[in-house]
Each structure stands twice: as structure tokens, then as C-alpha cells.
Subunit: 328 residues, 2 copies
């Protein structure tokens, strides 16, 4: 049991846990909705439960794991394991919460926390679509659009908040972004902003199947699968909004490449994974006119680890940091 | 004489040479126009002459220098010392020219070549306004707008072409850029694009003192000093175009900061140095609404080494690379 590690990806809608072996191969995977009614404490409890089930499926106890890694949104203090401003998990999760300490106690295993997008990027770099490169931009197209960087083989987090490609300015004084600013790329490409835009258009009488598909699937939000179905049914509004998102992502990623000249771009996230290779190819093509060194574009790949990349990357935190190497 | 190093900054209008001691202190500095009529060979000859004069002023022979560094525009192959596509030096300098070899031969000292903007950034990082930081974005606002990066204490050049902040997309399908693309930040903020715009406006009858000031100063281009004078005289067109440039730079730099979360931004280049601190402050203020982590903005400084930063940075190449450590 010595080499097993746990990984938890904490998202706004779901908690995904995996147990991996020393090589990073997934032995078990469990996913459950994020509880919204019991505060950060309730979220921590659910995270522990989900990982416990994953460990059980792998024939282990959590106390027998070498360690547990967590990919978390919000402001993550890796040294202390404290998470603040995780408002897309819970609107009330504003102040600091000692998530690592709480999980270590519940699981009987040392717990390390990292930024969700950065650990997903690290996973693609170490085990996924980025494994043949030394420098990489990870783009996670979901409710928002997150980014992660690997430069010369190491994750780059700047002062702790690097990678915010979704908040690069796409159009000065442009659309309102969920972050409160204007014209961010995410205001055009984030699934959250796309849904708000679709609702506003539908309210104004623009015809679309998006909300009918949503209801048929028993959803209350325009999940990635809803967009994919609407595109397959050639829904005009869906097509127009996804086209706009592709342009916004491509233009911003091209700007990032002009600044960083990375070898590769990996596109994942709920929308990225669901829409898949044809849309990654469209992003790649739409980048081309904006690339300064146009005869040597970066490789552009679909994320290879799919939905579990975040949890796998979280597990890779174990042993990667001094904290993760200690046994509780 | 053992510790002296030469540095040459090759520009489109001038060649700047310095001789520095082991601490990087400037012992002598010579500047001369870049010859336009004798091809890359003539440029290399002039570069050798300028450095020879600087060495003479420092009481040395070039053959007694530990080495010589060159900051060059275009596509620089650092390993071979070959420079191609230096078209802003000479329109005909498209193919590769073995500049390091030629200079080594003429000077009797080993010569190392680096990217002009990157060496200027390194100089600010080691000796200038960036010396208190570990990560840095250098922005050189001149005819074009170049950028250089220092991340965790080391220059980041990507696959050799990183730092092209002037070609991040400021406005998709926007103004035509000298690079041939559209909407690049440089198309709004580069002095070359600003001059083209001012000429077009003047041709359309917009009143401006810019070209009168240019003639009074015996210039054929709108040099940075011409813009500075026009601003001081409250010329409306000059004010409007500089305001537009400030916005374009600030928006793009804020995007770069959101992506990289560097500690500091250093603004230099002909326009940056000439317009000075008040304009750096305006750029800093105009960045603020676009910063994702708005309560912890990066420090924004005026370049401390002024016009000679590029040549000083070039001298710092000596000893920094294996090539520079060898004696010819």
C-alpha cells in the first residue's frame, strides 16, 4: 500500500477523487456533487467521504496513503493549506478556511493543497497531452476559463495568482465579466457568461433550443453536454455563442503565446473536453492570424486526461512538496 | 584590464557601445548612427569601430577585453552568433549573417549575441529598476514596443521569441501593425505606428505642431523628443495619440500581469525614457481596472539605466554563457 496517493479535485458542482499508484496510474475514481448547504466544513466532510470511497475501491484505507493532494479554486496558501475566496464552491466561502488541516485530521494522511488549474496543468504536463514538451500553457474552458503554466519543466504561479488567461483583456470596455471587470476573455468564452448571454437573448425573443435541451436533461444550468447537443442540432444561437467563444479563446491564447513562446497549448475543462478535438482544431486555426512567429506555431492539443486530470494532478502534489512528504 | 567587458546595442538608428568593469559600472560610452549603405558587413564594421572608441576611452584595447556582448534585433541564434531578419537595422538584412564571428575577428575578443530587448531587461533586473525583484516584465516603448521577461531570477525567452508584448492583440481586426497583422498593441503604441497615424491625420487636415517641431529640430522622423515637445506645448493630436498609446500599453501589460503575476514591470525604450516618470505613472494607473488581483498590483518603474541599458545588458552576456567564457 506504500506507494498509493489520493487526489481530490474540488469544483463548484462536483468533487472528484482518485487514488493513483506511484506511476500516476488511476486505480479508482469517485465523483459526487459538491454539498452547498453546510459551509466549508460540509465541503471538507464530503471531500473526505469521496476520497474514502475511492480508497476503498482501490483496496486501501486513507490512513495508508502516502499522502493526499487537493486541487482547489480560490486563493490557496500552499504552505499553510488554507483556502480563501473559494466563492465558486460556496458563495459564503470568503474568509480563510484551514482545509488541509481538516482533511489531514479526517483522513489520517498528510494533505497538500494546490491551485486547481495549476495541478491540472501539471498533470497534463507529466502524464497527459503535454508530456513531450518542456513548456506549456494549459487552458481550462469551463464555467470560467482558467489557465496554468509550465515553463522549462516547472509550474509557474508567479506570486500565487499566475495563469489567469480568462481575465486577459479581450475587448477593452467590452462585456461585463463575472469577475466584475469588463472585456475579459471569460466574459465571452466562459460557460457561465455564455449562459447569461443566452438567457438574455432568449428573453429578448431569440429562438434557441438550449433551454429545452437543458430541461430534457433535467439540468438547471447550461452544462457542457447541453451546448454540445445544441451544436449537434445546429441551434443558431448556440452556434453563434460558441463561435464567439472560440474567437475569444484563440485571440487571447495567441497573445499569450506571443508573450511566452511556449512549445504547446493544452485545452481542457468541461467545455474543452466535451466539444473535443474538432473545436480544439478550430481554436488552433483561429490563433494563426495573430501569432507573431506564424511559421512556427505551438502544438495545440486536447487535454488527454479528461475530467479526472485535476484529481490526478492533485495526487501528483504528494511528494512534490516538503509538506506532502511527511507522514501525519 | 582583466575584468573589462564590452557591450554593443545594435539599433535601427544608432549603435551604442559601452565598456563596463566587473561590477557592471560603465567606464565609457560611445554612440554613433547605424550606417545604412554598406549592408550587414558595413554595420559590423561600424559596430567594431564604435566599441574600439569606447575601449580607447576606457584606456583599453578591444583585444584586452574579457569578451564582448551584443544586443541585436531580428532572429538571433545565440549558440552560433548568427543574426537573421534584422530588417529594422537594414531592410535587406533578411538572411543569416554571422555577426559574432565577424565581430570576434575584428575585435580580437570573443563575442556573444543576445536578443536586444532581453539583454536590456536583464540589465534592469541585475543593475537597474528591477534589481529588488525576482520576476519582471520589461517593456521597451520605442519605434516598436518590445518586451522581456525575467522569471524566478532567469531570463525567459521561450523557443527564442518570447516577450513580444507589442504583438499581443489589443483590438481584434483593429489597426494595421507594421508587422503585417492587425490590432497588435504596437499598432497603437509604437512610435512608428504613431507617426504614420499622425501623418495620415495631418494629411487629412488635422492641425498639429508635430511636423513643425520635427523640422525645427532637423529631424526626418517623429523622434521621442519631438513627441515630448509637442506634449509640452499641449498639441492636441500629439496628446490624443499618446493617450491612446498609454491605454494600449496599460491594457496589454495588465493582461500580461494577469497571466504571469510578476512582481514588477519596468518601462524603458526611447519613448518611455523620454516621457519619463509621469507617463509611467499614467500607465500604472490605467492598468489598475484590468488587474485581476487588483489589491496587489505589481510595482511599476521607469527603467533606471536609460538609453544605455541595452549596451550594459549586452556586456552582461559576457561570462553568462559558455561561449562568452572562452577567449578567442
Amino acid at each position: 500500500m506504500g506507494g498509493l496517493r489520493g487526489g481530490i479535485d474540488l469544483g463548484g458542482t462536483k468533487i472528484q477523487a482518485v487514488v493513483v499508484d506511484e506511476a500516476g496510474s488511476v486505480l479508482s475514481s469517485v465523483r459526487r456533487p459538491t454539498p452547498k448547504d453546510r459551509g466549508p466544513e460540509g465541503v471538507a466532510e464530503a471531500m473526505a467521504d469521496v476520497l474514502r470511497d475511492a480508497a476503498h475501491d482501490a483496496g486501501a484505507e486513507t490512513s495508508g496513503l502516502v499522502g493526499v493532494g487537493v486541487g482547489s479554486p480560490g486563493a490557496v496558501d500552499e504552505a499553510s493549506g488554507v483556502v480563501a475566496r473559494a466563492t465558486n464552491v460556496l458563495p459564503e466561502w470568503v474568509g480563510p478556511y484551514a482545509l488541509a488541516e481538516e482533511l489531514s485530521r479526517r483522513l489520517g494522511a498528510p494533505t497538500t493543497i494546490g491551485n486547481d488549474v495549476q495541478v491540472a496543468t501539471d498533470a497534463e504536463f507529466q502524464l497527459g497531452a503535454g508530456r513531450h514538451y518542456r513548456s506549456l500553457l494549459g487552458v481550462f474552458w469551463g464555467t470560467g476559463v482558467g489557465g496554468g503554466l509550465v515553463l522549462d519543466g516547472r509550474g509557474w504561479v508567479g506570486r500565487g495568482a499566475a495563469g489567469e488567461i480568462g481575465h486577459m483583456v479581450y475587448r477593452r470596455r467590452g462585456a461585463h465579466c463575472p469577475c466584475g471587470r469588463r472585456g475579459c476573455m471569460e466574459a465571452y468564452a466562459g460557460r457561465g457568461a455564455m449562459e447569461a448571454h443566452a438567457r438574455a437573448m432568449a428573453d429578448r425573443g431569440v429562438s434557441t433550443k438550449l433551454f429545452k435541451i437543458m430541461e430534457q436533461r433535467g439540468r438547471t444550468r447550461l452544462a457542457s453536454a447541453v451546448w454540445a447537443t445544441a451544436l449537434a442540432e445546429r441551434d443558431r444561437l448556440a452556434t453563434r455563442l460558441v463561435d464567439r467563444a472560440v474567437k475569444a479563446i484563440a485571440t487571447t491564447v495567441a497573445s499569450a503565446v506571443n508573450l511566452l513562446d511556449v512549445e504547446a497549448v493544452v485545452i481542457g475543462g468541461g467545455m474543452g473536453v466535451r466539444l473535443g478535438a474538432p473545436y480544439v482544431e478550430r481554436i488552433e486555426q483561429a490563433m494563426q492570424p495573430h501569432l507573431f512567429v506564424s511559421d512556427r506555431p505551438p502544438a495545440v492539443h486536447l487535454a488527454a486526461l479528461g475530467d479526472t486530470g485535476g484529481a490526478i494532478g492533485a495526487a501528483l502534489l504528494v511528494g512534490a512538496s516538503p509538506a506532502g512528504a511527511q507522514v501525519a
